[in-house]
C-alpha cells in the first residue's frame, strides 16, 4: 500500500514527541506480528516433530516436500510431488478467476454508479459497501444456504422450469468462486468507481466527434485513465482470495482444497507438520507481497506520469 500523498506541507508541531507517539504502535505490531512472522520464517527451515512442533535442526525438508516425493522414509529417489503444486495452482487459478469475474461485473457497475447524479451516487455506493461490513462468515454461510442442493436458488430455478433437477452447486469449484466473488466484489467496485469518477466524459465526446468508434473510445481514451483503479481493484480482490479460508472451507468441501486450508491443517491438532505449514505460509506471504509491490509500483508510475 502506497502512502497517500499529502496535499498540505508536512506540519511538524509534534516533532519532539514523534518517537514517543509512534513507539506504542511499533512495539505492539513489532512484537505481536512482525516477530511471529519472523518466527514462522525460522520454523520453515527447521525439522518437524511428529506430534506438532519443531526440532531445532536446520532442514530444507519443508520446502523440498512441496516439489519432491522421497518416499515414506525419505530415502527413495525423488519424484515430482504434484499434490501441493496442484493446491497452489488451484488457489492461484481460483483467485485469478474470482478477480476476472469481479472485474467483469464490477467495472460496469462502477461505471454505472459514476454516471449517476451525485445524490443517487452516494446511495448506490452505500448499497455496494454495506454487505462488506456484514460478517464474512455470515455472508459465506448465507451463500451456502442459498446454493445448496435443495436450497432456495435451486427451488426457484425448478419452479421457473429452467432446470429439471437440482443443480449440484455446493462443493464445486464454481461454489468457491461464487463465494470469493461475493466476498470481495466491493473491493473491485470502489477503486474502479474512484477512478471512473475522475474521468472527464467530454473526452469521450471529443473522441466521438473525431469519429472514434465505441470500442476505440473505451480502449484508447477511457481505459488509460481508469487503469490504476482497475489494477488496484484486481489486486485488492486477488490478494485476499489467494489466502481465503472460509469460502473454500464452507463452500468447496474437501476436493477443492486451497492454500488457506492446507496451512490450517498443518497447525490443527497433533497430526500437523509445523515446518511445512510455515513454509506454505511463507510462500503465500511472498506471493501476496509481490502482488502488493506491483500495486505500489503502478501507483508510483501513475503519480509520476
Amino acid at each position: 500500500m502506497a502512502e497517500p500523498a499529502t496535499g498540505l506541507a508536512i506540519s511538524a508541531s509534534f516533532r519532539p514527541l514523534r518517537v514517543w507517539l509512534l513507539l506504542p504502535s511499533w512495539l505492539v505490531i513489532g512484537f505481536f506480528l512482525l516477530a511471529p512472522v519472523l518466527v514462522m520464517l525460522v520454523y520453515s527451515f527447521l525439522t518437524k516433530e511428529f506430534r506438532g512442533g519443531v526440532i531445532w535442526e536446520f532442514s530444507l525438508a519443508a520446502y523440498d516436500q512441496f516439489v519432491f516425493d522421497r518416499g515414506l522414509f525419505g530415502d527413495e529417489p525423488p519424484t515430482i510431488e504434484w499434490t501441493y503444486i496442484t493446491i497452489f495452482a488451484r488457489s492461484i487459478t481460483q483467485a485469478a478467476l474470482a478477480t476476472v469475474f469481479c472485474l467483469v461485473i464490477g467495472f460496469p457497475t462502477a461505471f454505472f454508479i459514476a454516471t449517476r447524479s451525485p445524490a443517487t451516487r452516494s446511495i448506490w455506493l452505500f448499497l455496494v459497501t454495506v454487505p462488506y461490513w456484514v460478517n464474512l462468515l455470515i455472508r459465506t454461510v448465507s451463500m451456502k444456504f442459498l446454493i445448496r442442493d435443495n436450497g432456495p436458488l435451486n427451488e426457484l430455478l425448478l419452479a421457473l422450469g429452467v432446470i429439471s433437477e437440482p443443480l449440484a452447486m455446493i462443493n464445486t469449484n464454481f461454489a468457491v468462486q461464487l463465494g470469493l466473488f461475493y466476498s470481495y466484489l466491493p473491493f473491485m467496485v470502489l477503486p474502479v468507481y474512484a477512478s471512473v469518477e475522475r474521468y472527464d466524459f467530454s473526452l469521450s465526446e471529443a473522441a466521438a466527434d473525431l469519429y472514434a468508434g465505441r470500442w476505440t473510445i473505451l480502449r484508447r481514451v477511457l481505459l488509460p485513465v481508469v487503469r490504476p483503479g482497475i489494477i488496484a481493484g484486481c489486486i485488492l480482490v486477488f490478494v485476499p482470495s489467494l489466502g481465503a479460508f472460509l469460502a473454500p472451507d464452507l463452500l468447496g468441501g474437501a476436493k477443492n482444497f486451497m492454500i488457506g486450508s492446507l496451512i490450517e491443517e498443518q497447525f490443527k491438532g497433533n497430526a500437523g507438520n509445523w515446518p511445512f505449514g510455515a513454509a506454505a505460509s511463507m510462500i503465500l506471504l511472498t506471493l501476496v507481497l509481490l502482488a502488493l509491490l506491483l500495486l505500489v509500483r503502478q501507483q508510483r508510475t501513475t503519480e509520476a506520469g
Partner: protein, 262 residues
C-alpha cells in the same frame, strides 16, 4: 449490471433473513411466519452458550477497538505531525502490516508465537491479537482526517503559549474527533467480524459469536443460526450507518467552518 451486482450481494442475506422467520423446524419447507427462532436463541437450549459468546465478542471488540484507537491516534499524530524523518516509510509499512499479511498467516504465526513464549491461549490472547489487527483500520481514517486539518490552528495555539498537551486536548482532538470515532467504529466492526484469527488462538472453551456460529454450522445450518445471523447483520448495518452519518456530520461542520472563514 449494477442491479445484477446488487442482487448477487443481497440475495443470500435476504434469503437468510427471510428464513430466520420460518416457523418450520426444517430449513427447506416454509411453515409460516414466526418469531420462534429468536425466542430460541435468547431462551432456548443454546441460549447460555450464545450469551457467553456474545458477551466475549462485544467486550473484546470494545476493548480492542479502544486500545487500537488510542495507539493509532498517537501514531497518526507522530506520522502526520512529526515532520519528515527517515523511518517514515518503514513506520508506515509496519502500521499497515496487519492488513497486508494474509489473515491465515497471521493466525498461524500468532498461534505458534504465543505457544513459543508460553502465552496461555484464551480471552487475553484473543484480545491482544485483535488489538494488533485493528490498529491499521483505526489508523487509516484517523490519519486521513488529520492530513485534512491545516497546521495553522495548532500553530496559533502554540503562539498563545499552549503546551502540546493543551494543543492536543483543546485544538487537535476536537478537530480530529470525527476521524477518531470513524476509526473506532471501523476497528470495532473488524474485531466483531473476525473469525479466522480468533478461531486459531481462542484456546479451548472460549468462544466468540463467529466461532460459535462456525461450530454450529459445521453440523448443518439450523434455523436458530439464521436468526442469530440476522441479528448480527442488522447490528453491523446499524454501526456502518452510524459511522457514515458521523463522517457526514464531520464533513458538514468543516464546510460550515470554511464558509464562516470565507
Amino acid at each position: 449490471m449494477a442491479v445484477l451486482c446488487l442482487t448477487v450481494l443481497y440475495a443470500p442475506l435476504l434469503v437468510v433473513m427471510a428464513y430466520s422467520f420460518n416457523a418450520s423446524q426444517s430449513i427447506t419447507v416454509w411453515g409460516g411466519f414466526s418469531w420462534r427462532w429468536y425466542e430460541d436463541i435468547f431462551f432456548g437450549l443454546e441460549a447460555a452458550k450464545f450469551k457467553t459468546a456474545a458477551w466475549n465478542s462485544v467486550t473484546i471488540a470494545t476493548a480492542a477497538a479502544t486500545a487500537a484507537t488510542i495507539i493509532a491516534t498517537a501514531a497518526a499524530i507522530g506520522m502526520v505531525r512529526g515532520g519528515a524523518f527517515r523511518g517514515r516509510q518503514v513506520s508506515f509499512a509496519l502500521l499497515s502490516m496487519p492488513i497486508m499479511v494474509p489473515e491465515i498467516v497471521t493466525a498461524v504465526a500468532t498461534l505458534v508465537f504465543f505457544s513459543a513464549i508460553g502465552f496461555t491461549l484464551g480471552y487475553s490472547s484473543i484480545l491482544v491479537a485483535h488489538i494488533v489487527f485493528c490498529i491499521p483500520f483505526a489508523y487509516l481514517p484517523i490519519s486521513a482526517r488529520l492530513e485534512g486539518i491545516e497546521g495553522v490552528y495548532e500553530e496559533a495555539a502554540q503562539d498563545l503559549y499552549a503546551n502540546r498537551w493543551q494543543v492536543f486536548v483543546h485544538v487537535l482532538f476536537p478537530l480530529m474527533a470525527p476521524g477518531v470515532l470513524a476509526g473506532f467504529l471501523l476497528a470495532f466492526i473488524i474485531s466483531l467480524d473476525d473469525f479466522i484469527i480468533t478461531n486459531f488462538i481462542k484456546g479451548a472453551g472460549v468462544e466468540t459469536l463467529p466461532t460459535a456460529i462456525f461450530g454450529a454450522v459445521k453440523q448443518g445450518i439450523k434455523p436458530n443460526i439464521m436468526a442469530l445471523s440476522t441479528i448480527m447483520l442488522l447490528l453491523s448495518l446499524l454501526l456502518v450507518t452510524v459511522s457514515l452519518i458521523v463522517g457526514r456530520i464531520g464533513l458538514k461542520s468543516d464546510r460550515s467552518n470554511h464558509d464562516r472563514d470565507g
